[in-house]
């Protein structure tokens, strides 16, 4: 009986997994670009979990659910890595992840799509639209896109850091996700 239940659970899990395409995290990347004192600086997130089920023939049926482990942030500098995790920035002790869940996906041009959904960071949810491209080749699909995040909308860098003269409000988020093409 227990074995039977376990088997059912595994089958259900497998059925769910069949919708999501496996992501090749080693080849994928999620990066961000900010501006300090007029100088652009790049960083990336080393750990994230992307659940994508996307069929270019039926983009409106796509499911996109991305969760970023904010503790995996790599700003390129030790001091910034420490600073950005503190309460005035990402406050990762209280809000360890950033999440995007698409509520609708539509095609805007051949190969070009737009995902609308909710982006949640630091306890703040905002509706965002994220344009992306999807290119299938050799059994893999490459999703590429990005958008501009206004950090102060999410209280990222509040208090003295709210000064956008030193650290710009705009942060460019870019991603390149390599996934198995949906069968």
């Amino acid at each position: 009986m227990m074995r039977g239940l376990a088997l059912v659970a595994v089958l259900f899990a497998a059925a769910g997994a069949a919708h999501a395409q496996a992501i090749d995290y080693a080849k994928s990347q999620v990066t961000f670009t900010g501006k300090q004192m007029g100088v652009t600086t790049d960083g990336r997130f080393k750990k994230y979990n992307a659940k994508i089920a996307f069929d270019p023939k039926k983009p409106e049926a796509a499911k996109i659910d991305v969760e970023i482990d904010l503790a995996s942030i790599d700003t390129g500098a030790n001091e910034s890595d420490v600073e950005v995790k503190k309460p005035s920035w990402l406050n990762i002790a209280a809000f360890p992840t950033a999440k995007f869940v698409a509520t609708s996906v539509k095609q805007v041009a051949p190969g070009r799509y737009e995902a609308s959904g909710k982006l949640s960071i630091k306890g703040v949810g905002q509706d965002v639209r994220i344009p992306f491209t999807a290119q299938a080749a050799g059994g893999l699909t490459t999703f590429e896109g990005g958008f501009t995040l206004l950090r102060l909308q999410f209280k990222i860098g509040d208090g003295v850091w709210a000064d956008t003269e030193t650290v710009a409000n705009e942060v460019q988020i870019r991603f390149r996700l390599i996934a198995n093409a949906r069968t």
Binding site: M37, V39, T41, A77, S80, V167
Partner: protein, 192 residues
């Protein structure tokens, strides 16, 4: 004697431009040195980011001033050492002057390298981007930071020696080595 004395009034002073450059660069380096020590220990804040930027801009400015100063020096002869100076002192003086020029050029360069390795492009005066000398590299950045710091302490030591020597010339030898680098008195014959 009179001819030697006449010659000395012409050749024993630095030019007004050389004197101005010497003191301006000295003042800017001293303040930037203090700024560097101060900003390094500040907790992360917008002020700290600003001060780091200003420090870099000042460093670039020092480099440009030193290049100009070197060009000036190469085209305008420095006054000769006073005749009473022993040979070892002349060599020590020439050596320490050379060291000061070299350090005031490579210290800004080490800071620029450090900034490049840290992934922060140097944006001179917030307007002019300088090319990145090396790619972003955390380990290299730490080494360059240490290099920049040690070179500065070395410069501070050479400056102390330089100041001590100048004061010794002034108070012990009672020659004009310090005076010839001081802003000229009003007399026309001495300003050149």
């Amino acid at each position: 004697m009179t001819s030697a004395r006449a010659r000395s009034t012409v050749s024993t002073r630095y030019t007004a431009v050389a004197i101005a450059l010497h003191w301006i660069i000295a003042a800017v380096i001293a303040s930037t040195f203090a700024l560097g020590l101060y900003m390094h220990d500040l907790p992360a804040s917008p002020l700290k980011l600003r001060l780091y930027s200003y420090h870099k801009w000042i460093g670039v400015t020092i480099f440009l001033l030193v290049v100009f100063r070197l060009l000036w020096r190469l085209t305008h002869r420095a006054p000769a050492s006073p005749p009473h100076m022993p040979r070892w002192q002349r060599i020590a003086a020439a050596g320490s002057h050379l060291l000061l020029y070299v350090l005031t050029l490579i210290i800004p360069l080490s800071g620029w390298l450090f900034s490049s390795a840290s992934g922060f492009k140097v944006m001179y005066l917030g307007k002019i981007p300088l090319p990145d000398l090396v790619g972003k590299d955390r380990v290299l950045a730490e080494q360059l930071q240490l290099t920049h710091e040690l070179l500065n302490y070395f410069l501070a030591a050479v400056v102390l020696l330089h100041v001590a020597a100048a004061l010794k010339h002034h108070w012990v030898d009672r020659d004009d080595v310090l005076k010839r680098m001081l802003p000229a008195p009003r007399t026309r014959s001495q300003s050149r």
